[in-house]
Amino acid sequence: MDDMSVTDVVDDGREVTLNYYDGSCRTVLVTDIETPLPDGRLIVSRTDPSGIITHVNDSFVTMSGFAREELIGVPHYILRHPDMPSVAFQGLWETVLAGKKWHGYVKNLRKDGGYYWVYATVIPNIRHNKVVGYTSVRRKPSRRKVEEAQAFYRTML
């Protein structure tokens, strides 16, 4: 996955290097510009068992700022924001690998360096007793929940 490009970023972004669980890393540029998820919209995506994106809906494309073809085939962590503690995603993977549903508040990184908050749910797609992928649905959280999550995640970084 390529580093973020200055030309994609709106405003001056701070540069952060993210280290992912698979050993890869990426330099991202982060701004303080929030794009709220519009009311009534759900962001839907599916991945294969290793977390590679196989399907995104229109809301995913719009909110992430990426083109659909930039998203399909890349790891879902393309959305990972440096303000999210890695332990939160560790908990996600432990939960879904145990065949259970995971919920959590997540700050996602946009292609333009901005961010959006979601309440995410991830479930394993089980077919004939085998996990064939994961479905993730993200919806609009309340401001109060976002503030609580922000404060909590700060203590984990």
Binding site: D39, L42, V44, T135, R139, K140, K145
Partner: protein, 248 residues
């Protein structure tokens, strides 16, 4: 042998006769006998489903989940370009401008339609509202939900979007949509049960060809459909997974 057919009770009553015409058409096209049984409420229909009474069901997404995963039903087709979306409406003169303006104690009128309730409760989450801090009232129809809003007996009402759009102009002029879902991937689906699986392909082909003749087009119109789209088992499994993620 007569097969039993039923339709999710959330269909618009204006299209009641359309489902009887559809049943007659299906019998002619398959040379099988079908008995159409309609229900006024979800609970009675669910009891009949639990008792394995039906072989063919036009199911809402919520019931499709049980039918596919627990009862061995297979998807045949869904209405073309028709996803299930929901609307939360308020009285036209309500001071509420956005979801975040709503507060605990909100009086909500809704039908027993499980999909609509689920979608609308999700749309209330940005205001920190949930089933424990609203005052719900269950109505027998969407018209009665609208009446509650018009009479000031509810602060918000839950509607299936297509039903909301078909309320009379006079009623709609007294209401205002506060928020509308754009989920795009949840829809009703026609399912065949284990006893009718041997006719799955025939029924599917007949439905997909319905748009090819003037008679078929007339029938689609009587159901308020533009056509049928083939649904593969994995398409329905995906929808069911998605429904699972939405259940809190």
């Amino acid at each position: 042998m007569t097969y039993n057919f039923t339709v999710s009770p959330d269909f618009n009553p204006s299209y009641l006769s359309g489902w009887f015409i559809f049943n007659t058409w299906l019998q002619r096209r398959t040379s099988e006998a079908f008995h159409l049984e309609l229900y006024d409420d979800f609970d009675s229909q669910r009891q009949a489903i639990a008792a394995d009474k039906f072989d063919l069901i036009y199911a809402n997404p919520y019931d499709a989940s049980v039918l596919v995963r627990e009862k061995g039903f297979l998807p045949v087709a869904c209405p073309a370009q028709k996803s299930d979306e929901a609307v939360i409406a308020v009285p036209h003169d309500s001071e509420v401008g956005q979801v975040e303006d709503l507060s605990p104690g909100l009086r909500v009128s809704a039908t027993r339609d499980p999909d609509v309730s689920m979608m609308c409760m999700i749309m209330l989450e940005p205001a920190d509202l949930n089933r424990d801090n609203i005052v719900p009232k269950t109505c027998d129809s969407y018209v009665l939900v609208a009446k509650d809003l018009v009479r000031g007996q509810a602060d918000a009402g839950f509607f299936l979007e297509e039903t909301y759009n078909k309320l009379s102009r006079v009623v709609r002029s007294q209401l205002r949509p506060l928020v509308q879902s754009r989920i795009q991937v949840i829809h009703h689906v026609l399912l065949v049960g284990p006893g009718l699986l041997h006719r799955h392909e025939d029924i599917q082909q007949a439905l997909l060809a319905m748009n090819d003749t003037p008679a078929g087009q007339g029938l689609l119109e009587s159901l308020d459909f533009t056509g049928w789209e083939k649904v593969a088992p994995e398409d329905t499994e995906f929808m069911i997974d998605l429904m699972d993620t939405l259940e809190t």
